[in-house]
């Protein structure tokens, strides 16, 4: 790595920090990309297309909220994609079996919290690396789902089940839930002691303990919330579908992790916001859609996603190292 001399006075760095926050950059990218692609192909900017992008990917943004919390606390979870598949099937099956709609909606939330909190407890109290626990859980959920349902489709969902078809004052429900969940989570994480504990745990667990934060309890809480958001994401996802395929959406966990990381959540823990991850989820969805409009094969989407996450991770680590070096120099 060649050292790039730090030019510009402290004042300009302060300026940059204020205006070049990850969130602002992402918002700029979301708008800039829309304008650029619209220039090449104006149909991209059609209301129908923009709405599709938002509606079709709101659940990823919602799941990325929980994932962001998990990563900020210094952990990782790769079982969330499989969990969403399982929860969607449970929810759909309940609805078809004639359970009250409220039950079909609430059971996935409770189940999501339960599964994730259990994983969090194993990670926090038995000190097993999160990757091992969630990799194991991924296969248990995935294999369990297919072997129980045989991969058959759930059809004839009752009319009332489709929560995602509702709207609030003309705003579609998935967008409402996405915005509300992001806002609530952002405020909670920024403005409450329990929310700040996540950052303290991921940033410096030892120092957190000395400040009266219980890192283990925090990790369990974070995983439980991650489960809650996974349940919420499932609701938005499953109630949009006319047919629920009882398999796990492949690669979903990677899309969710990408949204968190590209949204500015530091993969080493301790930093990031859910506003960033939501914007990043929208940006990734936008890129996927844009590829179609500029005639690039959609099969390149995943490579692009992979490149994006890799570049963000490397940039994050180099940036942190520079900053640490600067701290020593001055």
């Amino acid at each position: 790595m060649t050292a790039i001399p730090v030019t510009g006075a402290a004042a300009s760095r302060g300026f940059l920090r204020r205006f070049a926050s990850q969130e602002a950059l992402l918002a700029l990218a979301v708008i800039g990309l829309a304008v650029a692609v619209g220039f090449v192909n104006p149909r991209f900017l059609a209301y129908r297309n923009l709405a599709d992008i938002l509606l079709g990917n709101a659940y990823i943004a919602i799941a990325a909220i929980g994932m962001s919390m998990v990563i900020i606390s210094g952990n990782i979870d790769i079982s969330v994609g499989a969990l969403i598949g399982v929860l969607a099937t449970v929810s759909g099956s309940l609805a078809v079996a004639g359970a009250p709609t409220a039950v079909a909606w609430l059971v996935p939330l409770a189940l999501g919290i339960l599964v994730m909190a259990a994983q969090g407890a194993v990670v926090a109290y038995l000190r097993i690396p999160a990757i091992v626990v969630t990799l194991g859980m991924l296969s248990i959920l995935k294999g369990g789902l297919i072997s129980v349902t045989g991969g058959k489709w759930i059809t004839d969902l009752p009319q009332g089940f489709h929560l995602a078809d509702l709207d609030v004052l003309g705003v579609p429900m998935p967008v409402v839930i996405m915005v509300a969940a992001t806002a609530l989570a952002a405020i909670w994480m920024r403005d409450t002691a329990s929310g700040r504990a996540i950052y303290a745990t991921g940033g410096n667990a030892e120092a957190a303990r000395l400040c009266g934060v219980n890192p283990q309890r925090t990790v369990v809480m974070v995983f439980a919330l991650h489960g809650l958001f996974a349940g919420l994401a499932t609701l938005v996802y499953a109630t949009q579908l006319r047919v629920i395929q009882s398999t796990t959406p492949s690669g979903l966990e990677l899309t969710i992790i990408t949204a968190s990381v590209v949204g500015g959540v530091s993969i080493l823990g301790g930093a990031g916001t859910v506003v960033g991850s939501t914007l990043a989820a929208i940006l990734i969805a936008e890129i996927t859609s844009a590829l179609v409009f500029v005639n690039v094969s959609p099969y390149w989407t995943d490579a692009l996603r992979g490149g994006l996450i890799l570049a963000t991770v490397i940039a994050d680590i180099i940036r942190r190292r520079r900053r640490a070096a600067r701290g020593w120099r001055t």
Binding site: R196, A200, V213, R329
Partner: protein, 504 residues
Amino acid sequence: MNAPLLDVRNLEKTFPGVRALTGVSFDVRAGEVHALLGENGAGKSTLIKVVSGVYQPDGGEILIDGRASRFTSPEDAKRAGVATIYQELLLFPELTVAENIFLGHAPRAGFGRIDWRAVRTKAEALLASLEIDDLAAGQIVGSLSVGHRQRVEILRALSHDARILIMDEPTAALTEADVTRLFGIVRRLKGRGVGIVYISHRLDELFEIADRVTVLRDGAYVGSRRMADTNSAELVQMMVGRRIENLFPKTLVPIGAPVLEAQNLVCHPMTRGVSLTVRSGEIVGLAGLVGSGRSELAQVLFGITPAERGEIRLQGEAVRIDSPEAARSRGIAYVPEDRAVQGLVRPMSVLNNFSLAALGALSRFGFIDRAAERRMAEAGVKRFSVKTSSVDEAAGRLSGGNQQKIVLGKWLANSPKLLVLDEPTRGVDVGAKAEIHRLMGDLAADGVAILMISSELPEVLGMSDRVLVMREGRLVAEFDRAHATSEAVGGAMMGGGANRERAA
């Protein structure tokens, strides 16, 4: 007069096998800076850990405002108004200054929400009260300089209404300008009636900032003085005592040609232009305080952090040492300071630790000759009289002295020309210490050039043909054996002391 803020009486603390503190007493009054002075291992860290509730004392008592107090946790101590600022600052790099100050006890608004406005204004008020104007409450701590980070720690302590502030070597990593500012802050705190326990090796600083000083040696109380009534010579004398007679002095051997010649070595941030020569058969002692850049210099010589500038010659030939592998192949060996982290692979057997640095010589086409490896380890165990049930025992299970002998032994297997020893006898019992010293003498007699870093002044004085003194990344003094007295070397280590001596 009122009772002292903090009064420590006859404190005792024993760890398995070690008496860390015996009969230590001192007190701190409001508005006073009381310094603790002593060599490494003198018991200062144990003492402050007892006072700040990390350890529980085995005997003696701690009085706060004249009332006996027992702290069972750091929280307890914090509630009683005792705050400690450790050398390794415990901050959250990704959070802001204000948040770091108030983490865990932030002002609340309704619904349990943190009142960010109050956090900010309170942080700003604290900053203003210490007249810190170049630090903003909203700055991210990770991007701050060490001096600023320390100020954040001090503010955090003040946010807890600390009345007794313990500062553990607060200037060890600071620049001159930051030290001046720290002293400004300390004086302001004194003015407010805060009592300060100040730990530092730098005598000149103590004369500037402290009111009284208590000296510890080997975990025992040596004495207390008012700074106005003492001088650096007396303090150095109290610190090091007279213990040189227990050591094996080095036998005189003919000193040969230079093995190591280093010219103007620079490696950011702690090696700032060092030139030195070590000759065959010579033991050069490298003295200096913790944080003076001694270990950093050793790691430059050994290629762990290669020199950015400067020249290294080995036996007259200019060489590039850009990795430990390069250093080893040139005949340099380094016995590091931190045995547990840098020296040993503790879960590995004695056998495998012994051969770790000599695997190349023990193998053919990459295959380890296991019989030869075992022979070598068994010979080593015998030669260094390592006490172990077998060479297959995990190295981490042995005592400190035996572990150190293994680290030393694994490097001697390479028959080095230059041996760099970093605190070779730290945490080692007296018997093992004598054996290590005898071994050093034997090696020197065989023509090995030895550079020995040690914080123990008697060891440096007893073993060295020549003593170099390092301070703030530079060599600042050199003494030959005849002129290396504890006062002279100690004075040069402390900085101001030497100047005082010369001025007197």
